[in-house]
């Protein structure tokens, strides 16, 4: 371990990091300007004209999904907790099978722009859209906050900016850049940014993986052994489950809860679902998921090596005491391997990741507000496509501002963990209604509303009164609690688990069933037949706009 690693200002050369990142921004902005269309209609702004190919959209999906949480968070969790960090990536990956088998193609066949299109297809339009729009906004904002929190830690580590004001300024710059992509490029521009970013991220990670493995003559067992030795007394725990979650039966239950939220959350994430509208057909939607699964799976195998590599070469102590804590494992490893230049490249890729994912989230949230809430709920669907896009652009600016301030406030939280909460909300509020409206003919409006609002409310309440927000024991060194409220004297938690999924997901499915059975209401046979035939056969599905 180099002793200098502990001081943020000594790590790498901020000028190099900024220069490489600026290069990425310039290249992507030029591309966004070149691909973007003037006077974009709704289908252009929200769905990029629906003429991306399956493989293109698959890479973009991987770009959306391999957020700062995957890259920085999981690598960091593996470095600090070993096996338990690996568990995250397995849940994140297996979750894609739900999207592949049960959701992606049927959604592409029935909807137009947003998740709510499908949920409200055969149910009462306005109430269901309002509910689905609200849950889209909440899930997206949670996810957004996680990304921006990662940005804060990175800034501290990579640019040597120690003051809160300075970090805030950099977060603001990231937010403004992101808005430029969204406003200029719409979904088409954002998709290209995702594709470029995913390419850089996967190649960058692959280079580091080969580099790490070459130090251990490509022997995984040696790498694992080295990380155990480096960790000292607690090292032997790294190879087995339990280092993070095995402490008590409560933490074990928490892990079960997390596992459930991860595997059921992906297919309810609005920004993932919206990507399926950017391809011309269900077959292309399927191809895009297949591509995404391969890319994401391979990338998670990389993070396993990177995490143990960071543990072996940098050491858990240095990581935990660096600014940004677990999130800084991958950048620290890059510095250890390739010095200033590799650190600069990896830092730029990490920034690009945050930028691109935030742009995708912003488009999703603004589309949902403009299309679902503004047009269909408030204006009864009377607004033209252009009018809707104008509202979406204004919404994007508002969301950008929220993201900037949220990012400044959420500075320092472990991002993988914040994302896990977004997954829990998505799995509880969205997934039951998506599945039932696609597969259960009897499912009705009351079932949807109970499930969405019930899932949403129970999740938020349980999170607020969980140890995440208040009441984790104080750290003996700093005297601060690990909760969001760091003052250990403030403690209003009564729910024991960090992740609410194990309660809220079954509850929300149950509410959907009870709500449906307790109400006589059901969709008209015409609407039900239309949805069923369209979802399976693709008849009447939205077509791609004319190819360029």
């Amino acid at each position: 371990m180099r002793p200098t690693l502990l001081a943020a200002e000594d790590l790498g050369e901020p000028a190099v990091n900024i220069l490489i990142f600026a290069g990425f921004v310039v290249v992507t902005l030029v591309i966004v300007l070149r691909v973007s269309r003037r006077r974009a209609g709704a289908s252009e702004f929200y769905a990029g004209g629906r003429n991306f190919t399956g493989p293109q959209n698959g890479v973009a999906l991987a770009g959306d999904y391999l957020s700062a949480a995957s890259f920085l968070g999981i690598a960091g969790a593996v470095a600090l907790y070993g096996y338990d960090g690996f568990l995250y990536s397995i849940g994140f990956l297996v979750a894609w099978l739900v999207a592949l088998l049960l959701v992606a193609e049927l959604l592409r066949n029935t909807g137009r722009f947003t998740m709510a299109d499908v949920l409200s297809f055969r149910l009462a339009q306005r109430p269901v859209r309002a509910a689905a729009g609200l849950s889209t906004l909440i899930v997206t904002l949670f996810y957004l906050l996680a990304q921006m929190a990662g940005a804060g830690g990175l800034v501290a580590l990579l640019l040597g900016v120690d003051t809160k004001a300075g970090q805030g300024l950099v977060i603001a710059i990231v937010g403004v850049l992101m808005l430029a992509y969204v406003l200029v490029g719409g979904m088409r521009g954002t998709t290209w940014v995702q594709i470029i970013k995913a390419g850089l991220l996967i190649v960058g990670a692959a280079v580091m993986v080969v580099w790490v493995l070459s130090k251990y003559s490509f022997n995984i067992s040696d790498l694992l052994g080295a990380s155990v030795d480096k960790a000292g007394a607690k090292g032997s725990k790294l190879l087995d489950p339990g280092a993070q979650y095995g402490k008590s039966s409560l933490t074990k239950l928490d892990f079960l809860s997390l596992g459930l939220a991860l595997v059921l959350g992906t297919a309810g994430l609005p920004h993932v679902l919206m990507r399926f509208y950017t391809v011309p057909s269900a077959k292309e939607a399927r191809r895009s998921v297949v591509w995404a699964i391969w890319l994401i799976g391979i990338f998670y195998l990389f993070t396993l090596v990177l995490g143990f590599g960071a543990g072996a070469l940098v050491g858990p102590k240095a990581i935990a005491s660096a600014p940004g804590k677990a999130n800084s494992a991958a950048p620290l490893l890059a510095y250890e391997l390739g010095g200033t230049v590799l650190l600069g490249v990896i830092a730029a890729v990490a920034f690009a990741t945050i930028l691109a994912v935030v742009a995708g989230l912003t488009i999703t949230a603004s589309a949902s507000f403009a299309h679902d809430v503004y047009n269909n709920v408030i204006k009864h669907g009377q607004v033209t496509g252009e009018g809707e896009v104008r509202v979406a652009r204004v919404t994007a600016v508002v969301i950008g501002v929220i993201a900037i301030f949220g990012g400044i406030l959420a500075n320092g939280q472990n991002v993988a963990f914040l994302v896990a909460l977004a997954f829990a909300i998505a799995a509880s509020a969205n997934l039951p209604t998506i599945l039932f409206s696609l597969f259960w003919r009897r499912f009705n409006t009351r079932g949807a509303l109970w499930s969405i609002y019930g899932g949403l409310t129970s999740c938020l309440v349980l999170i607020i009164f969980s140890p995440v927000v208040s009441g984790k024991p104080a750290d003996p060194v700093t005297g601060k609690s690990a909760s969001m409220i760091t003052d250990p004297s403030v403690d209003f938690h009564w729910f024991g688990l960090d992740n609410p999924g194990i309660v809220t997901i079954p509850l929300s499915f149950l509410l959907a069933i009870v709500g449906t059975l307790s109400s006589r209401g059901s969709s008209t046979p015409e609407k039900a037949a239309e949805m069923e035939v369209r979802s399976l056969t693709g008849a009447g599905a939205e077509q791609a706009s004319a190819a360029h």
């Binding site: 099978l97 088998l101 694992l224 190879l239 979650y245 391969w294 015409e526 056969t537 009447g540």
Partner: protein
């Protein structure tokens, strides 16, 4: 599609249930669609149950069978890591199997039924529901 006339097999004026031909209701009630839906569900439901059960087993083993997961297989590679990597293998395998199945077995049948709805959409005067295409 710019077909100016019906396909080779003209459909009856109304189906058994009395729905206009090519309407979503008529297609939904047709034996062909029933068969398609059954084929689809018979594939995706058991497959989903399978991978969810396998994933859940893995999570439960990690949680409550630590000694088993800590069995050394070779060097520092323990059984938990192997089973975790098998989750990757099974995910890739299910993805490949499903994509092949859908391309070969599902798509042709679905396209045929979609064609039936589209044909009606070109002749909206044939039925009061106009094929249901908006």
């Amino acid at each position: 599609m710019t077909t100016s006339r019906r396909g080779p097999d003209p459909l009856p004026a109304t189906s058994e249930a009395g729905h206009p031909p090519g309407s979503y209701l008529e297609v939904a009630d047709s034996p062909e669609f029933e068969a398609l839906r059954r084929t689809f569900r018979r594939f995706v439901f058991p497959m989903s149950a399978l991978f969810l059960a396998w994933y859940l087993l893995y999570v439960l083993l990690s949680n409550y069978a630590k000694d088993f997961m800590s069995t050394e297989v070779f060097g520092n590679v323990h059984l938990g890591l192997i089973i975790g990597l098998l989750q990757f293998v099974s995910t890739f395998a299910i993805t490949t199997v499903y994509a092949r199945w859908a391309d070969r077995r599902f798509d042709p049948a679905a396209a045929e039924l979609a064609r039936r709805v589209h044909l009606e959409a070109i002749h909206p005067a044939d039925g009061p529901l106009g094929g249901g295409l908006r």
